[in-house]
Symmetry: C2
Amino acid sequence: MKIAHIGEFGLIERISSFCKSSHKEGVVLHIGDDCAALKFNKPLVVVSTDLLIENVHFKRSWITPFQLGFKSLAVSISDIAAMGGTARFFLFSIALPSDYTVEDVSDLYAGAHTLAQKHSIEIIGGDTSASDSNVLFINGTILGEADEIVKRSGAHKGDKIYISGTPGDSSAGLFLLQKYGNQIDLIQGTAQVEKGKDFSNFIPLVNRHLMPEPRFVESCENITSMIDISDGLLQDLGHILDKSNVGATVYLDKIPLSQPLKSMAERFHKDPFQFALTGGEDYELLFTSPESTISGYHCIGEITKEGRTIIDSEGRALSFSEKGGYDHFRTR
Amino acid sequence: MKIAHIGEFGLIERISSFCKSSHKEGVVLHIGDDCAALKFNKPLVVVSTDLLIENVHFKRSWITPFQLGFKSLAVSISDIAAMGGTARFFLFSIALPSDYTVEDVSDLYAGAHTLAQKHSIEIIGGDTSASDSNVLFINGTILGEADEIVKRSGAHKGDKIYISGTPGDSSAGLFLLQKYGNQIDLIQGTAQVEKGKDFSNFIPLVNRHLMPEPRFVESCENITSMIDISDGLLQDLGHILDKSNVGATVYLDKIPLSQPLKSMAERFHKDPFQFALTGGEDYELLFTSPESTISGYHCIGEITKEGRTIIDSEGRALSFSEKGGYDHFRTR
């Protein structure tokens, strides 16, 4: 149905149903006034805002509105998780291209709503407009709370470096979407098998790119610094090192690779570590701690006084640059 | 300078200077981590988000980046003011068309920063991206606080209706911009005088449209409901009436008209009340109170049990509809 058929107020009414979940705690005044009014339980409010723009951050031919709504909230939750906070409230601004339908908008909200319900987050409103272009624009703003926050700046020499899961999966999924996104129905998980093109094993990679599940740490007690991996492992580690004024040594053979990533890299004659070290949008958490092991997380290296070193599987030490990351290091 | 010359990180560095003002109170962690971390002083947090999209909400040929940044924050502050809250923190997401320069972005932030300084608001960050189109997208999110809030829903029969200033100026300014925006340099206040086209008297109207100063009430003690006029006086009054489940009588000759609006209407053979009653984007505050007079505000009518009536200057009672407002009423 065209949005013009139900008008702005009709659209707002449809959207409102997704903004009124069972998790009303803390919502003093909901969507429908000049502002929402909220109550927090903890002393610190943490807030982040993220743009998702068609053809810059996604292609509509690859991602459904439901997945896009899910992803928009997921990347926002990840920002709160990376501070050691608890996400509470989400605001959703969308500027719609002229071919976007009422169903598309409902699906977008439904995707966000599904993840919101899972994490007891309330969608408290937003703004909706025409985009006056063929481009879909989304801006998500998330509000969370914390007793205390984990910054990027707290890493100390001797701390271990931990990661919450397997990096590189998202960028490997993106690689497949860029290469075959228009040919196979990877999105629905029903890849059509052509000769030499059975990609069904790689669907977890595509799913990781399209619908990243935000990660959390159970306790921040012994975590000295944290970031979520959006730009790539080495680049985001670089942000911690910059802010903490320290160095790091990363061990290549300690970096956990998923089986789908290993298969995919083999199939396409790619280096899986290229994806794992420089690929973006994993939304895995990367953190440092003086603890020598932390159950459920992978230790991939340690914080040093200075320098940025990768030890490869043959024990060779190679430096990685601040910006180029592994890519730069490979061309030496 | 093209943004490509300094890159994303260079741009963020330029922007950061506008995000670090002297009003640091409450900012525990600023731009540059995954989230900003904030402390509030009052029990309620009020939040609103607003899109400003090129060719939908503004034309770049009419409004400078500085004015646009100013306006983006102004409309956000107005939302907080309409709840009886105090604005504290602002987040600014911008998606840039390819012809936007580093100077344009700096001016955009400078405009917001100028207003932020005036109201002790901290710009705590945001997101920046290419827009992959010729369209400039802005999303502002504002966070404020309040001891208690004034809703739209609290108006009672017998309350008086007040307005904080002269409505219609903004839409009269928009009329001039739409008609002559490309011909005269109204924006700079240096209108070139052609025969029959001396619009210098009308510049306050244009300024009201381009750089609205947010309004505030001194005390919310006896205010029962409030809204800021963004859609037009009658339509926004309608929102209060809907939420409060009451009616209203408005007296046409009590509605304050500015001298520039009166002159402009005469010059263009327009009805000034058309602008005052249905014109949007005034960002004047409209509120109700049992007080019979409130110094500094104009009483324009009263809340009734039901019905929506305008009494014209000859004492005739005419009803105004919920949606069409004055416009609808005029065509009867």
